[in-house]
Amino acid sequence: MSKPRFKTSYDADIDRFQGSWHRAQYLILILLALLAPWLLGSYYVGELSSVLVWSMAGMGVMLLVGHTGQVSLGHAAFMAIGAFVHLALMLRGWHFVPALMVATLASGVSGALLARPILRLSGIYLAIATLALGILVEDLAIVAEPVTGGVRGLVAPPIELFGMTIDRHGTPVAFYYLCLALVVLVTLAYANLLRSPTGRAFIAVRDSEISARALGVNVIRTKTLAFALSCAITGLAGALYAHLVQAVNFESFLVIISIALLLQVIVGGLGSIHGAFFGAVVIVVLPQGIAIGRDVLADVGIRVAAFPGLDMAVFALIIIVLMVLEPRGLYGVWLRVRTWFELFPLYRKGLFRRARSYLKTERLK
């Protein structure tokens, strides 16, 4: 593993890849992702598409929560906006691509409009306000019947693209490639954003609003932009999600989905793009793992009653353990393991210890 220890040019600081091995790793990853349909059965290709869609949604949340430090408990609302606008346009005869673009734009713009009043709040209050937003959208999805199809919802039509008909069940491989292409595009854009002044401003706002302002960052504008971009990505994910599950109604975007999305990026690891992907893998693999585990136990002769909500409870337990032991989530675990190998045998235990902060309230009594 050759890592450049010394930087020989100023550009090295903002290079996307640190050295050729780093780049090779990602090339291998892309290659594996491209070869996946030949390596896996069609069922698992479907699951992989699902991982990609949740990764995309996770990236939307990550941009806001992980990189700008604004907590949202209502992002399923923007998935809903993306999904409903996209399907409503497609059902009215629009082509897939413009419908997707308008849906992304619509969720981004609605995010920007909502951001102004909401982002005056911070911390827990912001979380609560977005939670309320998520709940309101559940009912709005029923009321806005012309767009959302009311209680019955909408059914996703097949996608016509490059002379092909792409359908999640008919042509799972084509759908997988579609998701992969979009996810790679968004990931590249996201990674580039973080290298730009805008992305740096996001991180500055996350780390300290006061210092960011002192450095000339327009905090309100930055937060609004982050909210809008985050909502746009989430809306795009929502539109893809609609094709993934084929039919959406108000129940597809309950507030519990918003909570799961937040938990997903936290399990993955806040403040890293990797985290969004790790979290999505956990979200998709966990229910499968539990089902498989139950089958295995049943084969041995132990019958586990099908408790409703078991997968969510196991997921929650994982969160609790992670929060206590490694607050930076799976990405933090990965970072530790990697560092252990890179520094072997010089790794020290307290290498990743975080500074604690003690509470000083702004309340008067």
Partner: protein, 292 residues
């Protein structure tokens, strides 16, 4: 007459919201974070009381069962803080929020796995009794709920204003480091606040189960609604929590009667959003603009 009837029932409901909101406020006062599992703790209290009191379960005398349920939930909350939550002490607020959300999921699952998912009611000596006065008939339980809430809020208010422990709690909630320097055992004080909120949750759960029926999944909805109450009142203010709860409790039946059902359903959240946008620190604000 109808309106007054609706009002009283709304007040009783509002008192229950207010009690859960009190739990939120207690935790917020102690650690400036929000316990998203408060609704589920309430449901846990309700099911504990049902398991202890109902005739087809342990069949204990009503008050004894009540005391045991309250005490055990208080102990549960104390241990929860001492063993688990204390470990994330000093980390960002979000950690605590996420931890309690996850705890809520686990609690909800455990309650469902033990007691099933059917709605159950609590058998009380006063079930079905009504007070009639001047053409009004009020269920006794509503009167009991209102009285309990008023007494509880008064006791808590006195506790925070007058006792040494109450003052210690306020001090450690305002500045942990300074309180520690003054010789206050901050960690234990925070655990005690959790215990108090556990007891309050148990009381709210018992009253809720006595008035209607509880089911495990009610915790989330009730938690969020009570949360709305706490926010409307201003997190951190005990009378505010009660006022917020009452406001939501009273608004709900009237909204259900006069507005289309979709609008009525979301009215508490819409109100909360409005309050947050117009008066971000709640009706009983306790926050000043941060000074650098």
């Amino acid at each position: 007459m109808d309106t007054i009837q609706l009002l009283i029932s709304g007040i009783a409901n509002g008192c229950i919201y207010g009690l859960i909101a009190l739990g939120f406020v207690l935790i917020y006062k102690a650690s400036e974070s929000v316990n998203f599992a408060q609704g589920d703790m309430m449901i846990l209290g309700a099911f504990l009381a049902i398991a202890l009191i109902n005739a087809n379960q342990a069949d204990l005398p009503f008050l004894l069962g009540l005391a045991i349920a309250g005490a055990s939930l208080g102990l549960f909350a104390y241990l929860l803080d001492a063993l688990l939550l204390r470990r994330v002490f000093g980390q960002p607020q979000l950690t605590m929020v996420v931890l309690t959300i996850a705890l809520g999921f686990v609690l909800r699952f455990v309650i469902g796995a033990i007691w099933g998912h059917d709605p159950v009611g609590l058998e009380t000596p006063i079930a079905g009794q009504r007070l009639s006065a001047g053409g009004l008939t009020i269920p006794v339980i509503d009167a009991v709920i209102i009285a309990t809430t008023v007494v509880l809020v008064a006791v808590l208010w006195l506790f925070f204003a007058r006792t040494r422990l109450g003052l210690a709690m306020q001090a450690s909630s305002q500045n942990q480091m300074a309180a520690y320097y003054m010789g206050i055992p901050v960690k234990r004080v925070v655990s005690l606040v959790w215990a108090m909120s556990g007891v309050v949750a148990a009381i709210a759960g018992v009253l809720f189960a006595a008035k209607g029926a509880v089911e495990p999944s009610a915790g989330l909805v009730f938690g969020i609604k009570a949360f709305a109450a706490a926010v409307i009142g201003g997190l951190g203010s005990l009378p505010g929590a009660l006022a917020g709860g009452l406001l939501i409790g009273i608004m709900e039946p009237f909204a259900a009667r006069h507005l289309p059902s979709h609008v009525a359903q979301v009215s508490p959240y819409a109100l909360m959003l409005l309050v947050l946008i117009l008066r971000p620190s709640g009706l009983f604000a306790q926050v000043r603009q941060k000074k650098v």
